[in-house]
């Protein structure tokens, strides 16, 4: 009996212990006013090191600690956290998410008057952060536009000039595939790198500059809170036909691109492809992989309507789950200061010895000169590209629209015989339906 009783007691203890440990695992409440501000950014690996340097400098200057977490899948994590009515105090993510966050009530509005140095950010940049209710959400942190990277040594080996038009870009892509630009005697190189998957809207994000350069766009802002569909146009058709020509010319695009995300598309680094329309933030990585002298950034080759590029950016968002406004404003003031913007632009080395990506691409602080900070003339092309670039409408939740277009384009480009007209018409009608669902159809 005694043995049995002991056993029972032991089992009871074990069971109670299990229950207790589960309860103890629940996350601690977030609203501890003495805890350091919890800050997230959508970065991984090397880019996280850049943020860590910025926050270390902040702590050195102010004595205020920051609890920083690099979160590669930031939007998924934010969404999951929000289900528990929690959010980070501050997070840094795509400017394009602004409308989505506002629609879900995730953000506290920002009063630029309370941000030191707000006047160093151009008013036009502040205006980009207007929510649909007329309030400003998020402090601009970094801006950028898509630029075209080219393997300079390959181009020069083959005796081609810098491509200035779509046709010349196509010729160069084909030459990279067919004329053995790296001179290794093997047929192992391709022209353009294209993240062509519909996942996260990648194909549309890659193709949007070409749509803009043809004079097309997805939606027209009627400036009265409503939008109209602009996608079903001759201009978009022209861009789609040109892109399909690239997909259907052997070697002009890396094979299999239709299923690739940006994470799968490291062909520039591996020396397998030589043309990539992407963000300036890749510059350090590319330089490190193939040598800075072999990487050139060229102005966007002109399409039928010009060389407009597509603008993106990152904002500093104030989470609505905690107040602590003064602390958030103090941090944001530092992040837009010359010091922080400079640190964010510098290439560094992370703990594994890898070259880090710059987290500030085109500085929002107009007193910071990207070319002067980096000592790299190539930045000027990116600065110029941003000056002639158009963003997605940030004030609305653009994600469903981006996904509709990406799904449609992915289908269109997945086969060379696809009916482009029918595809574009279908996308336009889906966009119209989405505008109506969202109650912003004009």
């Amino acid at each position: 009996m005694a043995t049995s009783a002991r056993r029972k007691a032991a089992a009871g203890l074990l069971a109670a212990g299990m229950l207790f440990s589960v309860v103890a695992c629940s996350p601690a409440p977030q609203d501890d006013a003495n805890a350091p501000l919890e800050v997230w950014a959508r970065v991984s690996g090397g880019a996280a090191a850049a943020y860590e340097r910025i926050f270390a400098e902040y702590t050195a200057q102010t004595g205020v600690e920051i609890d920083f977490t690099a979160v590669p899948e930031l939007d998924t994590q934010i969404q999951a956290l929000a289900q528990q009515k929690k959010l980070p105090d501050v997070w840094i993510n795509d400017a394009g998410s602004l409308g989505n966050y506002v629609a879900q009530g995730f953000l506290l509005p920002v009063d630029p008057a309370n941000i030191d140095g707000a006047e160093n950010i151009p008013q036009s940049t502040w205006d980009e952060n207007l929510g649909i209710d007329g309030e400003i959400y998020g402090v601009p942190f970094s801006r950028q536009a898509v630029v075209t990277f080219v393997r300079k040594d390959w181009r020069e080996n083959l005796g081609y000039d810098v491509p200035k038009t779509w046709d010349e870009l196509h010729e160069l892509a084909v030459a990279f595939a067919e004329e053995d630009p790296d001179g290794n005697g093997k047929d192992d190189t391709y022209g353009m790198i294209v993240p062509g998957s519909a996942q996260s809207g990648y194909i549309y994000r890659w193709m949007n500059p070409y749509i803009l350069q043809a004079g097309g766009d997805a939606l027209t802002n009627n400036d009265d809170g409503t939008f109209s569909v602009a996608f079903d146009s001759a201009e978009v058709r022209e861009a789609a036909e040109w892109v399909q020509q690239q997909f259907c010319t052997e070697g002009a695009i890396v094979p299999g691109s239709i299923g690739m995300t940006t994470a799968d598309s490291s062909f520039f680094e591996t020396g397998e492809a030589g043309i990539y329309a992407t963000g300036i933030y890749n510059l350090n990585t590319f330089d490190n992989a193939v040598g800075a002298e072999n990487v050139e950034i060229i102005p966007m080759p002109e399409g039928p309507a010009g060389s407009t590029s597509w603008a993106e950016g990152e904002d500093i968002y104030f989470g609505a789950a905690s107040d602590r406004m003064a602390e958030k404003e103090q941090l944001a003031s530092f992040l837009i200061s010359e010091t922080a913007q400079r640190i964010g632009m510098e290439a560094g080395v992370d703990v594994d010895g890898a070259i880090t990506q710059a987290v500030v691409r085109i500085p929002v602080n107009q007193n910071v000169d990207a070319v002067a900070v980096t000592g790299d003339e190539r930045y000027q092309v990116a600065v110029d590209a941003y000056a002639d670039a158009v963003p997605f409408p940030w004030s609305i939740n653009f994600l469903p629209y981006r996904q509709i277009i990406a799904d449609g384009l992915n289908a269109m480009m997945s086969s060379c015989g696809s009916d482009i007209d029918a595809g574009i018409t279908q996308i336009a009608s889906d966009l119209q339906a989405q505008l109506e669902t969202d109650g912003i159809a004009g």
């Binding site: 049995s4 029972k8 997945s414 086969s415």
Partner: protein, 313 residues
Amino acid sequence: MTAPSTIDIVTAGGRRGGRRIPASVSFRRQLIPWLFLVPGLVLAIVFKFVPMFDGIRMSFLKVQPFLGDEFVGWDNYATVLGDKRFIESIGNTVTIAVFQTVGAVVVAFLLALLMEGSARWLRWTRTAVFLPVVTALAIIGEVWRILLFPSEAGFANRVIGFFGIPPQDFLSDPNQAIWWVVVVGIWTAAPYNMIILLAGLVGIDRTLYEASAMDGVSTWQRLRHIVIPSMRSSFAVVLTLAAIRALRVFTEVYVLTGGGPAGSTEVWMTRTFSLGFDQYKLGVASAASVILLVVTLVLTIGVQWITRRKGNN
């Protein structure tokens, strides 16, 4: 339910011969197995049942934690069933489920027949064959993507080039992508099924083999009339598990194709994930998950009922 008998043995020492067991002891004896189950139950409740019931609750809400959830009745279900991409994804899901399940069970059965026995080399081979099961699906997907890289220099294209077949687009071709997803699914799932079927094979009464050998039956007859009927319950388990797994297929598709190209490999779960985490419609995504739960439940009960009825016959 082997737990009570184990406890009986453990507590037998306290019985003192054949005396009647007092009620309190009998109660304790019933309680103890439950205590042993507590760790598993707690984990199941916290990680399975609480999220499941939360999912069911969310499927009736417009989920917006910071603005207040709104009750929308059956609207989310109507949205799912009215979404043409969901409907299209059902076809792909069923195609993958049917071919992957059948393929994985057939391959597993062949593997089990080959791998039955106790020789040392068999043990080694069984471990090697089992490796896909213990490898992370994301890694399997990545390895297959490299094998199936659609350039002439890609591994698979070089292999088929050896036989004079022109280079294929594999995962980039909307017409074949889904079949490659099925192939990878079979490759991954077959070894797991094999283990269950091996257990079934080992359990077959040896004397049946000896008797049939005396009667001079062929290998095929032995398979047809002894092995397969004896393994009915193993097949039922494997088929049920494989069908459930195939219906909620997600990782393979997400890693291999992300649902593309042209939506040709989009399945129920990738569409659900996209609605939940690309478009943040968590209520609609929950409704889609609940529908999948109900379908899985009905299928499982159906398979159980059919096999039990056949077994009784």
